[in-house]
Symmetry: none
Subunit: 311 residues, 2 copies
């Protein structure tokens, strides 16, 4: 990696490759902000803050407004997934028109220590709804489709994730097991690596990490990758280290976080949506076996419920 890397029109820096992205711009800015340099953040902020205004500006204008250079503006555009500033500008114009028609409510006040409980409920619900919308808008359906295809034909599926992401991994494993796939979720880093060593072509490994840089999760994915397994990463930082070893990267969205609203909350919501999409996608593809399997597992569980009132 020592050779000079030119800033060409291909390879948008960090993001694996996002399509022209429709309207999830604010979300994407938040998602990618951590991997941005200071001046790029200024540009991104201006763009997210006033899409309509920025759409009216030329590269030079936006560079002056943000006190940076044209080069930085172009670089930021690339990072956000567009071929260049021209295309970002078009997207901005679209977004502006969209916002104007949509009348965004934008009542996302932060949660305060003395908020009454009813406000907490409303704010959390609103936040998570927002997260879902952002995630859905930002999901690359091509990557998703590819991931589904890989899972549907996998000999076995191994899922890696620690902390909060471990629960998401278990959720995915539970779901896939229900439709007859051989899936297992690991949350112990050591066991995960020893497991990953056994994988080979035809197996699928899934890594779930919000930060994209969780060593304990990346390591087994790397091993799986190097042993020829198809690898999928579900992460909030598509430019993070985890993407290096992922054949398919599924991007989750991040909401603004705060002390009383840890990132784990919205990232989990986002991750679960992605997991659900994977599950439904796989179930569609394997409907012949998945349908009966789902019915069967439902039947099996019915006996575990109190027959007196369980319908």
């Amino acid at each position: 990696m020592s050779e000079t890397v030119k800033e060409s029109s291909r390879a948008p820096g960090a993001g694996p490759e996002a399509p022209p992205a429709p309207a999830a711009l604010a979300a994407k800015v938040r998602t990618l902000a951590p991997s941005m340099t200071r001046s790029m953040q200024r540009v991104a902020e201006a763009v997210a803050g006033d899409p309509a205004g920025c759409a009216a500006l030329t590269v030079t204008g936006l560079a002056e407004l943000t006190g940076t250079s044209e080069a930085t503006v172009v670089r930021t555009s690339r990072l956000l997934g567009y071929p260049g500033y021209r295309d970002l500008r078009l997207a901005l114009a679209g977004l502006a028109a969209h916002q104007q028609s949509g009348r965004a409510p934008a009542v996302t006040a932060d949660i305060a220590v003395d908020d009454p409980i009813a406000d907490v409920v409303a704010k959390l619900a609103h936040d998570e709804q927002q997260t879902l919308a952002d995630t859905a808008a930002g999901l690359d359906t091509v990557q998703l489709g590819a991931a589904v295809a890989a899972l549907a034909s996998a000999r076995r599926v191994e899922i890696y994730g620690v902390g909060a992401s471990a629960l998401v991994g278990m959720d995915l494993a539970q779901k896939l097991l229900r439709i007859g796939l051989f899936a297992h979720a690991h949350s112990d880093a050591h066991l995960a690596v020893t497991n990953a060593v056994l994988l080979r072509s035809g197996d699928v490994a899934v890594a779930i990490t919000h930060s994209g840089s969780t060593g304990d999760t990346i390591e087994p994915l790397r091993v799986a990758f190097e042993h020829g397994a198809t690898t999928i990463a579900i992460t909030g930082r598509p430019g993070g280290p985890v993407a290096q070893y992922a054949d398919h990267v599924l991007t989750t969205s991040t909401a603004r976080e705060s002390e009383l609203r840890p990132a784990a909350m919205s990232s989990r919501t986002s991750q679960l949506l992605v997991v659900d999409c994977l599950f439904v996608g796989v179930a569609q593809r394997t409907y012949d076996t998945a349908g009966p399997a789902l019915s069967a597992s439902y039947e099996a569980l019915a006996h575990r419920h109190d027959p007196r009132t369980a319908r």
Copy 2:
């Protein structure tokens, strides 16, 4: 008027002079068509017929598409009221986005086996958003407040749930542990009961069951209840058997389910919202200790991430 009139960037030819024109483009094309020359009409037609497609083209591209020249394209843009093609193109992008958003609301349908993956994403996201809204609206804030109070002052918290609800329980346990409470989630029915026997007044037991009639979850809650612990039930059926042994019942909402959209999906979303509300509520009440604890756990985790790219 006999002197030569240059085609300058001022004086938009025929159109009286319209401002940047919002979205009534098709109408304007019709209105101005009579005063257009043949080749201009071809351009205008293309633009009105496929705004999105034309927005993707450069002047040269559109000229070729319509079999005319760049000059004609620019002239047409002027006639339509824009300073030049660049601005027409931006307006076109906005128009395209606007149109697209208009035909969005048709996502209420059920998920079909042959739905394209993009539809699956949209439908799932929409569903879960709906579930969140329903849950927030249906949550009894009095019960919630009481449950928060009980948790905040609990000596220990034991959480029972099996299957998908087990994951929700673990999520709650993880969160409570982070703010210094002693919480533990159980998913093994036998161990849960043996654990429940040890509870007494001052302890809190939480049962999570969507159906409200899951024997394996109800049993430990009953035992805890009978031993004097404060009991909380998170269930989709507040009238179900589990409510019998619950001091506080928190109701989750359920979306319509179908074969490809198992109830587990929306019930999980709903349960997690309730769990988040409990967590934030408790964190508020115990902010003096919860705040530092959250910061500390955040710090501790920072070291587990690769420092090279995690900014």
